[in-house]
Symmetry: C2
Subunit: 123 residues, 2 copies
């Protein structure tokens, strides 16, 4: 079990140190991150795995407040798996609808691109 400084954790996760502190303050993590005797944060592998999950949720557009709700459920321990599942399933639906929508808009843009390609260097 290695333990990382905030700068190292930032590098590993792709977030900034500022953002890591912000997430912790805002209740997105499962617990307060442990401290070295100096008061500096020490991130464990488990912390990093959770932060990666948070990153996935964020990267797929889940709002901070929903991530916080999910974190709260996980923090509360066993017994609310159905609720966690519902939250994830509902998120998944939103994401899939949005993927489809973006895809269809992109195809329309591609059509426009094809028109310009023809105009700029006609085949």
């Amino acid at each position: 079990m290695t333990s990382l400084s905030i700068a190292e954790a930032a590098e590993q996760t792709g977030l900034t140190a500022h953002t890591l502190r912000y997430y912790e303050r805002d209740g997105l993590l499962l617990h307060s991150v442990e401290r070295a005797p100096s008061g500096h944060r020490r991130y464990t592998d488990e912390d990093l795995r959770w932060i990666q999950m948070v990153t996935r949720l964020r990267a797929t557009g889940m709002p901070i407040r929903d991530v916080r709700r999910y974190a709260a459920l996980v923090r509360d321990g066993d017994g609310n798996e159905a609720e966690r599942l519902a939250l994830l399933l509902s998120h998944r639906e939103v994401v899939e609808r949005q993927l489809a929508e973006v895809g269809s808009h992109l195809r329309a843009i591609d059509h426009k691109i094809a028109l310009y390609e023809n105009k700029v260097s006609p085949a």
Copy 2:
């Protein structure tokens, strides 16, 4: 060539009247929308088609300022098609990279979902 009130244009485009005025103010439209003698805006079919393009760009995540640049190019008329094309191609790349990233995060989330499904109602 029908011409619509702002409320009708809002309904057609799925934007709010507030947003339509905001887009115009912010230079996202090709011209100021024409006015009835009363001073009320009258949207033409051409306006609506352009607004739909703006909507596609926005829906795929293009920042307002880039939409404004694109609008400026179109407004400037013939001769800059290569520039417009470059802008759209670069946007397309961004969108595709993001679609792929979201897709991959979603698959990871799906894995988590599968775990919870097993826990909640084991097959």
